[in-house]
């Protein structure tokens, strides 16, 4: 399987070339175009987070209920995948550590990557924001998307990130949800809300823009529904 990112950084689209028997899983609706010989199916992914309850969990979390699976019966079939919003993509190779991904940033993964829904670590404190998290393990490739550009922060020691800007982070990082440094009052007035404080060594991926903030900036000026 070959994964290429084209037209970076604003209008990034992924071209996946699949060989006989290879399979890739993508967020439902991510398919832009594909060779007519590819077999497509939707799935409620089996496994820990799969089955009907996994599917329900996904629906409650606001994510598409289904994942699409593309399978190539013949060699050299191409598939184009793109996220919904303007922005960049990241090709991450799963290693030993596992990855926690903001659900809206997940685009696709190869079939040996496990996707578990509703990462529990953030459960309580993120309730104010309607995002949920995917706990990914196994081996293979993961495609992540962002609203705006993606930048990597190699964390050694400690780092603080606004929760709305996290795309994904490696599970070797410990984290806690906390107020930004300084007084509660300035945190509140500054609109920063809660931040995530990462500790340890690992890679952290952030996006330059926050989709809900963009939605509020534009949507509030549109005529009422």
């Amino acid at each position: 399987m070959k994964i290429e990112l084209l037209q970076q950084p604003d209008s990034t689209i992924a071209r996946v070339t699949l060989n006989t028997g290879e399979e890739i899983v993508a967020e439902a609706g991510a398919m832009v175009a594909m060779s007519g010989y590819l077999q497509a199916s939707t799935t409620l992914r089996q496994g820990k987070g799969g089955g009907i309850f996994g599917g329900l969990k996904r629906m409650i979390g606001g994510e598409s209920l289904f994942l699409s699976v593309f399978r190539s019966p013949t060699p050299e079939n191409t598939l184009f995948l793109a996220p919904k919003m303007l922005g960049d993509m990241l090709h991450y190779k799963m290693g030993a550590s596992g990855l926690v991904v903001q659900a809206g940033s997940y685009l696709a993964s190869t079939s040996d990557v496990n996707i578990d829904l509703g990462f529990q670590g953030f459960k309580s404190l993120f309730s104010g924001e309607s995002i949920f998290w995917l706990d990914m393990g196994g081996h293979g490739d993961v495609l992540l998307s962002s609203f705006g550009a993606i930048y990597e922060v190699p964390v050694k020691g400690e780092y603080i990130v606004d929760t709305g800007h996290i795309v994904a982070f490696e599970k070797t990082l410990k984290f806690e949800i906390t107020k930004p440094p300084g007084s509660w009052l300035s945190a509140f007035l500054g609109g920063e809300g809660l931040v995530c404080r990462f500790k340890g060594n690992g890679r952290l991926f952030c996006q330059t823009h926050n989709a809900p903030a963009f939605g509020q900036a534009v949507g509030s000026r549109l005529p009422p529904r």
């Binding site: 290429e4 990112l5 084209l6 037209q7 970076q8 950084p9 604003d10 209008s11 990034t12 689209i13 071209r15 439902a28 609706g29 398919m31 832009v32 175009a33 594909m34 060779s35 007519g36 010989y37 590819l38 077999q39 497509a40 199916s41 939707t42 598409s64 209920l65 289904f66 699409s68 699976v69 050299e76 191409t78 184009f80 793109a82 919904k84 919003m85 303007l86 989709a211 939605g215 509020q216 534009v218 949507g219 509030s220 549109l222 005529p223 009422p224 529904r225």
Partner: protein, 305 residues
Amino acid sequence: MPQHSVKPSAVVYLRGSKRGRRREWNKKETDKVLITYSLFIVNSQLSTINCQLPTLNHQLPTATYQLSTYMPSNISYTIEHSPSYAQLKLKIPANKTVLVEASGMAAMDSHITLKSKVKGGLMKGLTRMLTGESLFISEFTAPERSGTLYISPGLPGDIQHYHLKGNSLMLQSSAFVASSSTVDLDSKFQGLKGFFSGESLFFMKATGEGDIWFNSYGAILEIPVNGSYIVDTGYIVAFEDTLKYNVEAMGGLSWTNLRTGILGGEGLVCRFSGEGKLWIQSRNLFHLINFLNPFRPTKNNGSSE
């Protein structure tokens, strides 16, 4: 990966963040690219190549650039700021006329004249309105001496050039940017085929001889179809009419009952078959509209949705 041959000394347009740089592509550099990077498509000429290009110019960051091999054009043009903010700059030869989508003009030499007209008579204009295009098309003429015209499409995205040689090109209804005056534009009513999807699947048919430019939301990618190819209906930009097409709900992709957006998202696809070129866009405007919809304020008169 099949081996491709590239025409030596082809004139290559480098597009991407380097903003339409034009450079001579000599054999030596071609070889370097072929050795170091795998090339996409290419049937020796008149085609688009996508490849990683850091070796062509060491100052360029590692990113993907689109190369278009030289395509004959009667009007000299440059496409700048592609793929995200593409703008078309045309040099209209003396006493020649170009057709431009209504309100597409951004800037021009002051001696260029503009005439707005219902192209091809009222009936054709009305069909064009049905397709979501404007009733009018602007005609820009450069009397006596040549002039420069800048054209900006309404949406941020890419622009692609195509040279018609008596064949026809099908365009997604709002994709038209500009064309030579010798190109004939006709809205093709798709009948039931078009109404199948909730989105309007109208195509504009461009025929004749001359140049045409079309635009997209997001980047444009060229796919050489040989056999069968499937495209989500919201991502089609243009295709050569040697390709047959059929709209279908794809078994594995359909989630009609679960549609959440106000537009699109039905999992309807267009199946192309035969041999010809197809252009797709890397983003779909409907997704942005659907994303913004929940952020609109709600009416306070009790009817909550």
